[in-house]
Point group: C2
Chain length 296, copies 2
């Protein structure tokens, strides 16, 4: 079998973001942690870590981390029956990828009780759909919330409901750019705000109105920043309605075309054999997420 | 001189996130854009782009992009005098790296008027300090807001003021974990929320109370997500006070130790010869940012 002392050192260096903190977490000296990593590298015959700040796993390092995470999940299932087997008594962690807008809105409300009850710690990774599913495929995360509905090999995927987006801007921005109405021609000339290259929502809205080609835009890869830029009058953009209830009520943001929404369905991807904890989280999401999302 | 038609094609592919949208933005066919990229690669003798989704620049591609951006900024200075020289009439863009908490709080308010008046579009990149300054050094961004006060070669750096952080948690979390007071021992057992491996704020607070070693924590690399997890009772964490005025007023979040703040000074790094637009933005930030930050 593998030497799990070495693998635990690797996991700690990555999870803690450095050798010093890994040593603290494991209750070891820093040189003991270095020694374990070197021994691990001698065994696998190649580096498992890039010595950057913070350290990053190499490709083989990533495979080993994935393996450690799966083993921990399986150990967790046994723990209730054989608690004495557990060496550290550290709480369990799950690494989960999710889209920025979910993290900015419903995620915490949907899983807060579950995490508190089970003593579960989350390593959240904010990724758009393609990268999130790539991380699932690489075994780098145990679950992924995204808009893709094709499960990767070894994983299942369940529908969660949809996030409802509305096209919004500040009243001053609307007065300045859409005095003659919100038309494709007016949209083409008014700056939009786009989350990143994968964000097609503004393009879809533009196309809904018959717009063709491109439009000028700011790029802002942050959910909160997106709302700040929108209410600050930088441009128009599609925003999850539940993120800006206050701004809409206070009139700091207004809809470009009231009622023209875009619903983005979301799915929960999770390993099929990810252990009991992941299965419970899946049941919890299946049961409660509907409260926070639109059923389509 | 360089062939700027080829360089503009490269810039468009990166800025638009793909060949199709680059072609739309340039008013060319997609094959014409591909042709230009191939010609550029033939000239420099190596690939300038990784054909990923979205395409990413190679190292030499990044140097060329940097050059295009600098040339554009210099062109912009001439434009008032010789507007006819400008081919496209596209608005000017600045690529700026900033920390997530600035983007989630004061940034939009501080530069909104400036961008609207000058018709400036922003390509924002959310990076922590080390990566932000690395991007400055690589010439990938024209400016950077971060906590580092050492300018990179060819750049200047001015102080902007500080962001004030308070250690917060939900009332239920405080009742559950700190019924006997907020001590280092209690903190060591209560889950914290940490933004990422570079986020030392929770460690500093823990050390202020005499804590040693590590503590259990969630990882949440999103400013908005951080606030959601904090108010959702997942853990305690240091949050910019201006981001949670509402939550504090409504009692959804409470301070662990009222008055024990951590101020993080911020600096604006910018190219010394970045053209008139960047210089104006710098003057604007110098003049107005103080309103939104604490003067220390």
């Amino acid at each position: 079998m593998f030497d799990y002392k070495l693998l635990a050192a690797l996991a700690a260096v990555i999870e803690q973001g450095g050798f010093e903190r890994a040593a603290q977490a494991l209750g070891l000296s820093q040189s003991a942690v270095s020694q374990r990593i070197k021994l691990l590298e001698a065994r696998v015959g190649q580096p498992v870590l890039l010595r950057a700040t913070p350290p990053a796993p190499t490709e083989i390092g990533r495979l080993l981390l994935n393996h450690v995470q799966q083993v921990r999940l399986l150990e967790r299932d046994l723990q209730d029956q054989v608690p004495a087997l557990d060496e550290g008594g550290l709480p369990e962690r799950l690494r989960i990828a999710l889209n920025a807008d979910s993290l900015a809105t419903w995620w915490a409300r949907a899983v807060g009780d579950f995490c508190a009850e089970r003593g579960l710690l989350l390593d959240l990774v904010v990724e758009d759909q393609d990268v999130g599913l790539k991380r699932m495929r690489a075994g780098d995360v145990a679950g992924c919330v995204c808009a893709g509905d094709k499960p990767v090999a070894g994983a299942r995927c369940i529908p969660l409901g949809a996030m409802r987006y509305r096209a919004l801007a500040s009243p001053a921005f609307v007065a300045r750019h859409f005095a003659a109405g919100v038309t494709a021609a007016a949209l083409a000339r008014a700056p939009a705000i786009v989350f990143g290259p994968d964000d097609q929502l503004q393009h879809r809205f533009f196309a809904m109105l018959g717009g063709e080609g491109g439009f000028i835009h700011h790029l802002c890869p942050s959910s909160e920043g997106f709302v700040r830029l929108t209410s600050g009058g930088f441009g128009w953009g599609l925003v999850p309605e539940q993120q800006v209830r206050g701004e809409l009520e206070r009139g700091e943001l207004v809809e470009l075309l009231p009622g023209r929404v875009i619903d983005v369905p979301l799915y929960w991807h999770h390993w099929r054999n990810g252990g009991e904890l992941l299965a419970s989280l899946t049941r919890h999401l299946e049961k409660y997420t509907g409260r926070w999302l639109v059923q389509v």
